[in-house]
Amino acid sequence: MWRIRLFDNLVQVATWAAGGLLLLTIVAVFSYLFTESKYAFQRQFPFGFRIALQPPHSEYRDEVSMDPTASLLATHREGTDELDDAEDATRLPSHEELMQMQSLVTATAQTDDPNQLRADALFRDCMRAPKRAEQGERFLLVAFALPNYTADTMELAWEPDVSFDPAYCPYQLRLRLVRAPQGVQVDPIEIDLRRQPKGRIALPVWKAHTQEEWLQGYLFELEARPTTSTTWATLQQFLKPDWAPTILYARFGMLPLLLATLLITFLAVGLATPLGLAAAVYLSEQASPRIREWFKPILEILAAIPTVVLGYFGVMLIAPALQQLFGEALQLSSGRGLLATALMMTVFILPTVISLSEDALRAVPNSLREGAEALGLTLAERVRLVLLPAAKSGLMAAGLLAIARVMGETMIVWILSGGTPTMPDFSSPTAALGTLVKPTRGIPDTIAIEMGNVEFESPHYGHLFLLGLTLFVLTLGINLLGFAYRKRAQVQL
């Protein structure tokens, strides 16, 4: 007797332990995706502008960054090591040496206090460590002409540093005239650099005749004023349309990835659902039991083909075909892209859709089927009028499961999408066709590709987790909805 009781208790304890562990897992998955995403919110927001004083017809009019005399005012990762006066190569040379090189000068200093400027501690560029969104930054810029300058006007030109886009910066950026030289009449200047990231403004010429006079020239400031908290700024940036996490002025806008994933899902499920439904109707209503017995294992074979292999198939079969069709018209280097991915996804999801839909159709009670048949309805009418409405909940559940599976499938997108984040564009038929066949990139493959060479616990790592969380929340919602439909289907029939 005691052995039976012991046995009872053991099984019960094991059952409860497994149940508890499952609950723990669920909670852990949730909480860990959240906690690791916190590294995303430790990001900083670099910015950088190139500013130059130019003669009216400068050859660098439109490319300030090419102007060798331009000053770079920037906060970015490469500028994080403290600039050392002695070491820094871009320190301004002496007045006489400068005269031999150029006639218009912009210079900057480490300090942001106009009273602490020193003529012997001026630099061409100034790079500081990037800051959080709550912390502002202020650069000073001295601008003057040298005695060898001959024209009677000069222009201050500015443009964002290469790869910096002010739209990806949460600060209010302003270029402001702090002080004009004595005896020069200028209107106050204040430029909103986010609204006018690139521009030029004419200034009356003012010449510094000795090194001591340098500091009496035009004094500008580039101010980055915080507008929001880092958390909020990170979230705002996350919804922007450009994903380029490895460039100097990193952009973490996941919109193109999300839209690509949604489009691929839409296309693949849109193709697979009617096909799968047709095959399921054939299987459950028309096929003889013998055929059905053969069909299911064959479907399972298709379901068992690993997705890596399906990806290779796409590269071998679908991509070259698309390349032949559209390659010349759209200058494609390969057929990899959204459409190729969606087509292979259709193959991937088809067995799941067929077997789940067939289960749903077979769960419809035979009395309904026979009643409709007895009335004299044809098979097609029975399907439309009786079977589909009766199996609606089960079919919905199948469709939702298919959506969640396609959304999270990684290897097919990785291999077939081409790997370039692209915003979908449906403004014209050509653009729409381009969107379909040109390379793209989805959420899951971005995680898979970039996690391999990311520094752990860096903001980039955090953003990959934020992407994972986005995917998880999306699929979770769809799965829960599917679960509800499945329950309803069980209750109904």
């Binding site: 149940g19 669920i26 064959i298 004299g376 409405p389 599976r405 996690m451």
Partner: protein, 307 residues
Amino acid sequence: MIEAARSKVVPVAEWEVLAARQDVRRARKNALLTSIFGAVGLATVLLVFVLVAIIAYKGAPTISWEFLTQPPREGMSAGGVAPMILGSLLLMLGAFLLATPLGVFGGICLAEYGERSRLMRLMHASVAALAGTPPIVYGLFGLAIFVLKFHFGVSLIAGWCTLTLFCVPSIVLTTESALKTVPAALIDGGLALGLSRWQTLWRIALPYALPGILTGIILSLGRAVGEATPVLFTASVYYSTAEMTLGWDTLRQPVANLPYYLAEGYRQPGVVPERLIWGACLTLIILTLLLNAGAILIRSRMRRRYL
């Protein structure tokens, strides 16, 4: 129940009107639609055969005794894929050993206490949601918790844990639904004979549901072995010459495996010749198909024994 279902669909009177119509168009439409259904079904089967045939055609010339038993040589450009096959099998074995008890007992827990409390209903919904959660999310989670938090590093054991998490939800669900198919008469009979509740479960319900449970386990392992993403950042290495032992050291080392080999083969084009890639594809498919064949076999044999 049927009344309820009928009220959801079109009223019977409309069907009668439709059915009374005797025209050729109805028959034609029916013939057209039914042949479309059949054609799509046939096309699906054809698709499967074409895919498998292409892989077999491309991969078969590569498969040889040397390919299956030798490690890669000459900077991955020659030799075989033995370490990858071994690694895949090892990963699967560990996941099998860890996921089976957890999944089966979890399934029992759901089947026994399923609808009783709000907590259990929540658990059921969460397991269903986890079963549909993308493998890449498991990969991320495994990286965060096993590799970094528990300091396992990228290792076999971290891969086992991640794959276990990946397999358990689907095993739980199939176990639960298999247990639900056990006829109430059998359970009542057991209880009436004076068996305790857990004896009934262990001696009557579990054996009856065993084919369903085993099929579920094998199918989810088959999915796990072909899936590159859960082990991508948790357990994988392109190729390592470290010796496999049965000790702790091997557990703490990353392992090569077939899906990762294929993924890396794509990421670094030109390193592995196409011949070897297709050979590895075929090997991987054969591995998953063997598992599936096992599942089908078990299902049909067990069904014969119990029905």
